[in-house]
Each structure stands twice: as structure tokens, then as C-alpha cells.
């Protein structure tokens, strides 16, 4: 089985690709529009430099060769969401050609990456006519086309997940932004291939491909022939259906786009420094910090921010200490934690105090939890009147100290809760020991 994908990613620019309309803001229809993205006569396009820069970053990340010069093309087809009835895209000179993406140790060849503009959005109405919103019209897209190197629907999903993580990291794409990822999926079980157009999201890509795999296999087993065609994925019914034969033949009739001129991108690309990809970072963590592949992958895949903090911490203390705290208390509270410079510095200095022996590992953990979660219990325990709290607890339950001497679990009585282990230890190693329980 051969699967090839065409992945469309909206690039995180602030303004649109060929006009200055904001890419985000009001969700009200047709609020972020201008003569250019609505295709008004007299308007002209003007390329957003950031869209080109982000596209080149992706081309480099994918190991593509970047031509000296690029320009845009007009792809002509008629559709109500396409403001000019042509899409400005790249036909002859994509910004990147012939790359490769490593999915683990399997290479997936990248045919090309090019830039194009997104069309608007259409809603259908009860009377059959349509309603069009051009807010999305002109949002910059990067289209990444792979060779048919993917061998199963599950692998396609893994590839996409991994590719997207790298894309997000490379161009700072927000994971939950409204910018979606759309795929055209080419799949052939036998000789002839079908294209499932415009599938949104990883799960749907796997579902659509699985459905196609089964459908094509059944046809072939029954001695039938696969017809080369375009199909649509029905998200609700989870099936693909044949796109009806068009009455109006499409012949895109590409021409070069003269309104924009040409761009010397090899030079631009040589000035762009890409951040390390997550895959590269994992490999480096294994080498530099003596981590297992698993541990490194766990840290990096949790969040690139966490991985960055690990490196800071390792520099401030040592790799072993950093590893212990990062994969322990810090990673377990990382989700939901909004790291600020201040809070990260607090954690670093806390671990520094631990490393100097000023506080116990338990107290250190407790205080980190307080910083990261603001959880009341942790913070109460961590507060400056810790002595007082424990003192009061012991005053109220004097028998605990005597019992503690016989049985460590006795301390649980006065604290309880989920984290009794830590609390008990604080009692033991902290105040209760100072009170010299056996003496009372």
C-alpha cells in the first residue's frame, strides 16, 4: 500500500498573505476583509515577508533544496469562496524541493513545499443558496507534498503527528490555535490511486485512509478495478464518497503572477537560522546528558518549553539533579502550569537550595508544587510559619509524638490527605525531630 499526503498548514502571521487584514480577531463574518482579499477590481496583492520567511523555515526544516528565485502563479478555477476565481499559489517554482523527513528511522521523502492563499468559507442555506465569509480568504498556507512513502493509515497518522510537532516548534505555531491542518490523502492498495480531498485533523486522516484501504482491498479481492478519482470524506458517517463528475472541467491554466514579481529566496534562506527540531533535541539530550531515548522523548514531547527549562536547570545545577526534578514533580505539574520567568527562576533557586543541602528533597518538592500549582495545602506547608503549623498540630495531638516513636504511620492521623507521605516526612525530619519526641 502506498500513501502520499498533501498537508496544508496555516502559517501564524499576524496579517494576511497578500493584504494587511488581521488573521485573527472578530469571528463575525466579513469583518477582517479588504478590497484585495475580497477580489475587488483595482486591488493589488502585496506579499507579507513573514509568510515567505516562515515558509522558508519549513523548507529548511524538511531538508528541501531552495531555488535561487521563486515567484507565484495563478491557478484558475471558479468557486464562490475564491474571491478572484483564481488562487495565488506556486506552480513552477515552489520554495522548497526534494526534502526528506525522518519518522523515527524511516525516511519519508518530501516532494515539495509551496506557499498559497486560503480561500474563504461557505455555509449552505435552506433555500439552496450559499453564504460566504471571506475572513479566511488570504490566510497564508504552506502546502507540504510527500512522496507515496507511507505504508499504512496508522503510519500516516504518526507521520502527521510528528511532522506537526516539528512544524509547531519550528514556526511557533500555537497547538490549539484556530488555524487548522487540512490534508489531501492519496492512497493506492493496488496500482491505481484515489485522492481523498480536504480531510481535517489527524484522527480523520487515519479514518479516511482506513476506510479507503478496506474499500480498495474489497474491490480488488472481488476482481474489480479501482477507478482513479477524487473522493470526499464524510466526517459524520466516517466514509469516503466519490466526488461527482464535474460538468465543468477544471483546467487550471496556470500563468505567472505578474503583480508580485520575483523573490531571491536562496539568499533569504541562508540568513534564516532554524531552531532545533524536537527529533534533533531528543538525540542531543541522549548524547549530552546521558539520558535514555525514552526519558529524553518524554521530556521533549511533553513540551519544548519543559525541555528548554531542563537545559537551564542542568546548567544551574547538574544533569542528574535536573533529570530527577524535571521528570518528577515538574513534569507532573507542567500541564496547566503557566511558566513565567519569575516562577521558573523560583524553581531553579529552590533546587539550588536543595543542591546546597539547605532544604530536604521533600521540602523542595513541596515548594515547587506550591510554585507550580498554588495548591493550598502545599503552600500552607511551605509558608514561613511552617514551624507554627506543625507545632500547633503536635500540641493538639500530643500522643502522636509518642506513638511515632513506635510507628511512623501514626503521623498520618493529624494530616491525612493524598500527600501524607511527604507531610509525614516533613513532620519527622523537621519539627517533630527537633521536639525530640521521645523526651516528652
Amino acid at each position: 500500500m502506498k500513501i502520499g499526503l498533501e498537508v496544508h498548514v496555516q502559517l501564524p502571521t499576524r496579517s494576511k498573505m497578500f493584504c494587511s487584514c488581521p488573521t485573527e480577531g472578530s469571528a463575525e463574518p466579513n469583518t477582517r476583509v479588504c478590497p484585495a482579499c475580497m477580489g475587488f477590481p483595482g486591488s493589488k496583492p502585496s506579499l507579507n515577508g513573514e509568510a515567505l520567511r516562515l515558509g522558508l523555515k519549513l523548507a529548511k526544516m524538511l531538508g528541501c533544496s531552495i531555488p535561487d528565485t521563486t515567484w507565484f502563479s495563478r491557478k484558475i478555477y471558479f468557486y464562490p469562496d475564491l474571491a478572484k476565481n483564481f488562487q495565488v499559489t506556486q506552480q513552477e517554482t515552489p520554495i522548497g524541493l526534494g526534502g526528506v523527513y525522518m519518522l523515527g528511522d524511516k525516511p519519508i521523502r518530501i516532494t515539495r513545499i509551496h506557499l498559497e492563499e486560503d480561500p474563504g468559507k461557505i455555509k449552505r442555506t435552506a433555500d439552496g443558496s450559499s453564504l460566504i465569509d471571506y475572513n479566511r480568504s488570504g490566510i497564508p498556507l504552506a502546502e507540504i507534498v510527500t512522496e507515496p512513502d507511507i505504508s499504512s493509515p496508522a503510519e500516516a497518522r504518526r507521520f502527521l503527528a510528528s511532522l506537526l510537532a516539528d512544524i509547531r516548534h519550528t514556526i511557533d505555531l500555537e497547538p490549539d490555535s484556530e488555524r487548522s491542518v487540512r490534508c489531501d490523502c492519496n492512497i493506492s492498495v493496488g496500482k491505481e490511486r484515489c485522492e481523498v480531498k480536504n480531510v481535517t485533523g489527524l484522527k480523520n486522516v487515519e479514518r479516511a485512509l482506513t476506510f479507503e484501504m478496506v474499500r480498495q482491498t474489497k474491490i480488488l479481492k472481488a476482481g474489480g478495478k479501482i477507478e482513479r478519482e477524487t473522493r470526499h470524506f464524510d466526517e459524520e458517517r466516517k466514509v469516503t464518497t466519490s466526488a461527482r463528475k464535474k460538468e465543468f472541467e477544471a483546467d487550471y491554466g496556470y500563468i505567472n503572477e505578474p503583480d508580485l514579481g520575483v523573490y531571491h529566496i536562496a539568499k533569504m534562506a541562508s540568513e534564516i537560522e532554524n531552531k532545533e527540531t524536537p527529533m534533533e533535541m531528543i538525540a542531543r539530550f541522549v548524547g549530552d546528558y546521558g539520558m535514555t531515548q525514552e526519558a529524553a522523548k518524554q521530556i521533549v514531547s511533553t513540551d519544548i518549553g519543559l525541555a528548554g527549562f531542563f537545559e537551564e536547570l542542568a546548567a544551574a545545577t547538574d544533569a542528574e539533579t535536573a533529570k530527577t526534578f524535571i521528570s518528577g514533580v515538574i513534569s507532573s505539574h507542567w500541564k496547566g502550569f503557566k511558566p513565567s520567568r519569575g516562577s521558573l527562576d523560583d524553581i531553579t533557586s529552590m533546587i539550588g537550595r536543595f543542591a546546597k543541602g539547605e532544604i530536604t528533597d521533600v521540602e523542595c518538592n513541596m515548594r515547587i508544587r506550591c510554585i507550580m500549582t498554588g495548591d493550598e495545602d502545599s503552600c500552607r506547608v511551605c509558608s514561613d510559619d511552617l514551624d507554627e503549623i506543625v507545632g500547633r498540630a503536635l500540641d493538639e495531638n500530643p500522643s502522636v509524638i509518642a506513638d511515632y516513636a513506635k510507628n511512623e504511620k501514626a503521623a498520618n492521623r493529624i494530616i491525612g490527605g493524598r500527600d501524607e507521605g511527604d507531610r509525614r516526612n516533613i513532620l519527622l525530619r523537621g519539627d517533630s525531630q527537633r521536639r525530640q519526641a521521645p523526651d516528652i
Binding site: S20, P35, S46, L47, L52, N256
Partner: protein, 90 residues
């Protein structure tokens, strides 16, 4: 150039032609394309393939701006609750 080709090309361009128009354009196009044959023997180069003068590296900075209020654009448009009314798509 035959009538079928004219009809096919017109269809791609979303034009519906009357019988007279088909014949008119068929004849004209035949004559024009015949004249264009002279290009086959013309010299050529791929120095500039987009514009007749060099237009290069003109980039806009990524600053969102709306110089024309969207409402002004919608003023003369057939709309429904800010949506542009369009034809059937299914």
C-alpha cells in the same frame, strides 16, 4: 479550431455561447491562431519570465491594518447578516 473546442474552452471560462457566437469565435480563433504560428520560429530566452522589467524582493512587513472599514465594502453588496450571498454549491 472546431466548434467543439470553442464550446469546451468557453465552458472552462464559464461562458455560454449561442450558435452564432460559436461560429463567430470559431472563425476568428482559427484566423488568430493561424497567425500566431509565426511564433514557432521566433527567438526566445528565459531571462525575465514574470515582468518586462525586474520587479524583485518587494515584501510587506507583517503589521495588521485595515485602511478601509469592512462595512464600507459590504455597503453595496448583497448580504445576509454580514455574509455575502452566493449561489448554490451542492
Amino acid at each position: 479550431m472546431d466548434r467543439e473546442t470553442v464550446t469546451k474552452v468557453a465552458r472552462i471560462a464559464h461562458l455560454e455561447l449561442t450558435e452564432e457566437e460559436i461560429e463567430l469565435y470559431r472563425k476568428d480563433l482559427e484566423e488568430i491562431l493561424d497567425y500566431f504560428q509565426v511564433l514557432d520560429g521566433a527567438p526566445s530566452s528565459d531571462a525575465l519570465l514574470v515582468n518586462p522589467v525586474e520587479v524583485s524582493d518587494v515584501l510587506r512587513s507583517d503589521e495588521p491594518r485595515m485602511d478601509i472599514p469592512a462595512d464600507d465594502l459590504l455597503a453595496n453588496m448583497n448580504t445576509y447578516e454580514r455574509y455575502v450571498r452566493g449561489p448554490r454549491v451542492q
